[in-house]
């Protein structure tokens, strides 16, 4: 009783602080802001090589695919490859002009990024003459491809959410998925504003992807006047699960935000279950890839908004097109034994977009770029895709609530829940919020 009383006071205090914060925020916003000297404009390309003499020769038209194919991220990479192959099959139902064949040139990004990976991308671009490159969610492979693509003139379609990739207006890069900033703002809005949460644990992985995502989330929280999240950085080479478990038990967070790869997510999620405090888990799109332990379900009909305090859920931000009636989701499910993740669906869409552009442009990188830049209203497996003049996908983002379960009222009520996957298969709700 005393605890509840104190909790009530604490909540009131938090509410007051939040109110004061919002007033301060409004006051700040009402001050006239200087207009920027310039906005970075559209990414036009006034370069060469659209002429037919620059068409790629040979019986094969190759699409480069960068994906992790060994080590802990292998399931995510294999999911991308499987999705890309399905798209190739679909794109090749009608034969290609001159008896050509559309193929994949796959590069394993599990190799050291500063050695073999750069060489492999160069091999793809210069020797294999890939017509375009698709990169995984990994920022390093996206950056290397972006640089080489800009220098040599090769379209790059990336799953990376890194801001130094997604916020750059270069004419050769197109982003299939949401940026860190978009994801962070959506999660923060849901978490702080809609659900009124205030105690959040931010778990990010060591390295560029985790750092960029964590920064984006802290900024999103700050923007809403929310208290800064408690931060925990996972070192993949020296994981410290006991420390994280202790943190979850001690701080009793209402929500965890995971900005990690799928492997780290697969390690963190069971810890949250063990802690048993029913914290809501929000995953960025990269964390929810194959190998994370997160299972997507083929229906989005049973949406119920998460209510603060009485639910625990796993939520992933994404566009939504993962319905069972879509041939891709059905065929992917039959082949892989599970529903596609958002990144897998985006990979399928990336190959399909390239194939469609190739039908119009022919095997020419510059003309292919022009066709990709003009993509509007494409109904893909990952949702509606429209590229703006900066190569960003303008599709609306959604939060997918994968499963809900009871959150204990106090620390004392916390109980470990059963195995994550087993639990999720028994009791699952699925839905979305704008």
């Amino acid at each position: 009783m005393l605890y509840k009383h104190l909790l009530g006071d604490a909540l009131l205090l938090v509410g007051f602080t939040a109110l004061a914060g919002s007033v301060a925020c409004s006051a700040q916003q009402s001050k006239p802001q200087p207009l920027p000297y310039a906005s970075i404009g559209a990414a036009t390309y006034d370069g060469p090589n659209r002429g037919s003499s620059y068409d790629l020769k040979g019986p094969m038209i190759r699409i480069g695919l960068l994906a992790p194919l060994h080590g802990p991220e292998e399931p995510a990479g294999q999911a991308m490859v499987a999705a890309a192959k399905l798209a190739l099959q679909d794109a090749s139902r009608v034969s290609w002009p001159d008896g050509r064949e559309l193929t994949l040139d796959t590069v394993d990004t599990s190799v050291p990024p500063w050695g073999a990976l750069g060489d492999e991308i160069i091999r793809m671009v210069i020797q294999e003459k890939v017509v375009a490159i698709i990169t995984s969610a990994n920022a390093v492979s996206a950056h290397l491809s972006e640089q080489i693509g800009t220098k040599i003139g090769v379209p790059v379609l990336t799953m990376s959410s890194d801001p130094t990739t997604t916020e750059i207006h270069l004419p050769w890069i197109f982003r299939m998925g949401p940026s860190d900033k978009q994801q962070a703002r959506l999660i923060a809005q849901k978490l702080y504003q809609e659900d009124g949460m205030h105690q959040v644990l931010l778990v990010s992985e060591m390295g560029q992807d985790g750092c960029a995502g964590a920064t984006a989330f802290r900024r999103a929280a700050h923007r809403l006047g929310a208290p800064p999240p408690i931060s925990f950085v996972v070192n993949p080479s020296q994981p410290d699960p006991d420390h994280l478990l202790g943190l979850i038990r001690a701080d009793f967070p209402q929500a965890l935000v995971l900005w990690t790869g799928p492997h780290e997510a697969s390690q963190v999620i069971p810890l949250v279950r063990r802690a048993g405090n029913g914290a809501v888990i929000y995953l960025c799109q990269a964390a929810a890839q194959a190998g994370s332990g997160v299972a997507f379900r083929p229906s989005d009909a049973a949406f119920q908004p998460a209510r603060p305090g009485d639910q625990a859920s796993v939520v992933v931000s994404r566009q939504w097109g993962n319905r069972p009636e879509l041939p891709f989701a059905r065929r992917y499910g039959a082949e892989m034994g599970r529903q596609p993740t958002p990144v897998a669906a985006e990979t399928y869409d990336a190959v399909t977009l390239i194939a469609q552009a190739l039908r119009r442009a022919g095997p020419n990188r510059a003309r292919l770029r022009d066709q990709l830049a003009a993509v509007q209203g494409f109904h893909g497996a990952s949702g509606l895709i429209s590229f703006d003049n900066q190569g960003n996908n303008r599709a609306t983002l959604k939060l997918i609530i994968l499963r809900l379960f009871k959150r204990p009222e106090t620390k004392a009520d916390a109980r470990p829940v059963s195995d994550f996957e087993a639990f999720s298969s028994k009791k699952e709700l699925l839905g979305r919020t704008e």
């Binding site: 920027p36 000297y37 006034d46 037919s52 500063w114």
Partner: protein, 386 residues
């Protein structure tokens, strides 16, 4: 009919030169004659990424090898078949003391010495990465800008030094270009701004976009205009360094920044592949032409093919004519047409050879010449076409 056409052409040329002469009296001299090196005269196909002048020799790095031009002719094209580390050549530097040619490729670093190549790759040497974007020679040291940091190679001892995010203030390791002064090393970093290494003090100083935004420029001369730096050049006369970005041009005089965008200058495009500078001139290699900025008179001059907007269309007719856009400090613009032009509007780099310039374009190497008004020259330029 034909006679009338020739007379018109001659009159037009004279008018151009008169106008050019008039402009030159008030601003920079104009390059009205261009000689282009393309596959038609033995030059490799595809983009020319870099060009370096060594006396009468001109080295051009292309998508398909390293070309050597001597006395106006393509003397030789080196490829991996000749021992070059990679066919896509991003940078070339000549050691003035030894005559060695250092070549940065997308397959590692090559040293051309005594008629042979010796290669330095990530596996065989201390070079940080095989994607070598920039190279510069400073006495016994060779500085190398790679996709994974900066190297310094000691040609006397064979020792490699490396700077990256682990031992220097790199927030990104992707180094695109390197330029040298006597006391400092300037490195352009993709996403990381400009890093300057003090040779005496052995420390790095970063210069970054102060607004931190990749989508806006908050104040005009706020600092470096954008963190994605595509090129860097130190001016030994003015002691300024200039950084090209894909979003504008920045110069730093040691105290103040001087930034330029197309919106309020004569810069042809904010998408700049490289920058070079000497004397009062700053040259921005943009995707819409080659822009020269005379820092003293504040006059901008842009060179490009006259039909540049249609140049890349599948059935474009390349008539070889060029256009010169002169933008005065008050914003007034004037346009001249010339019988010849750079090979393409997409400019990738530039080098100086006395008063001449050599320009790396997306479809060939171009030699720009300040033409005199002598009659013979006029006829030559009129009849030479490209």
């Amino acid at each position: 009919m034909r006679l009338r056409l020739l007379q018109s052409l001659r009159l037009a040329t004279l008018l151009i030169l008169a106008a050019a002469s008039s402009l030159a009296a008030q601003g920079p001299a104009l390059y009205t004659r261009w000689i282009n090196y393309t596959p038609a005269n033995g030059f490799p196909e595809g983009e020319v990424y870099c060009v370096t002048v060594d006396g009468n020799r001109v080295w051009a790095g292309t998508a398909n090898g390293l070309a050597l031009i001597e006395n106006g002719r393509v003397k030789r094209v080196f490829t991996t078949a000749d021992g070059l580390a990679g066919d896509a050549v991003m940078s070339v530097a000549v050691d003035k003391q030894t005559g060695d040619v250092w070549v940065g490729t997308f397959g590692g670093l090559s040293r051309y010495s005594g008629g042979r190549f010796k290669n330095y790759t990530n596996l065989s040497s201390g070079v940080a990465n095989d994607l070598v974007y920039g190279v510069a020679v400073q006495g016994r040291y060779v500085w190398v800008a790679t996709a994974a940091g900066v190297n310094r190679f000691d040609t006397y001892t064979g020792a490699w030094s490396i700077w990256n995010e682990t031992n220097a203030p790199f927030n990104e390791p992707w180094c695109y270009a390197v330029s040298l002064s006597k006391k400092k090393v300037y490195v352009g970093v993709w996403g990381g701004g400009v890093l300057v290494y003090d040779l005496a003090g052995h420390y790095w100083k970063p210069y970054r976009d102060p607004d931190g935004s990749m989508e806006t420029v908050l104040y005009r001369n706020q600092g470096l205009i954008h963190n994605i730096v595509s090129g860097i050049a130190y001016n030994h006369e003015t002691h300024m360094f200039w950084a090209s970005t894909y979003f504008g041009l920045s110069g730093f005089d040691g105290r103040n920044w001087h930034n330029y965008l197309t919106k309020d200058s004569g810069l042809a495009s904010d998408f700049i592949n490289a920058v070079q500078t000497h004397g009062n001139e700053v040259w921005a290699c943009t995707q819409k032409g080659l822009s020269e900025f005379d820092y003293k008179t504040k006059i901008w001059v842009t060179y490009r093919p006259a039909n540049w907007r249609a140049l890349d269309a599948a059935k474009a007719v390349k008539d070889g004519r060029g256009e010169i856009i002169v933008t005065r400090p008050d914003g007034n613009k004037s346009k001249l047409e010339t019988p010849t032009s750079p090979a393409h509007n997409y400019i990738l780099n530039l080098a100086f050879q006395g008063k001449d310039i050599w320009v790396a374009t997306a479809q060939g190497l171009s030699h720009g010449i300040i033409q005199s008004q002598q009659k013979g020259k006029i006829n030559e330029s009129s009849t030479n076409g490209r």
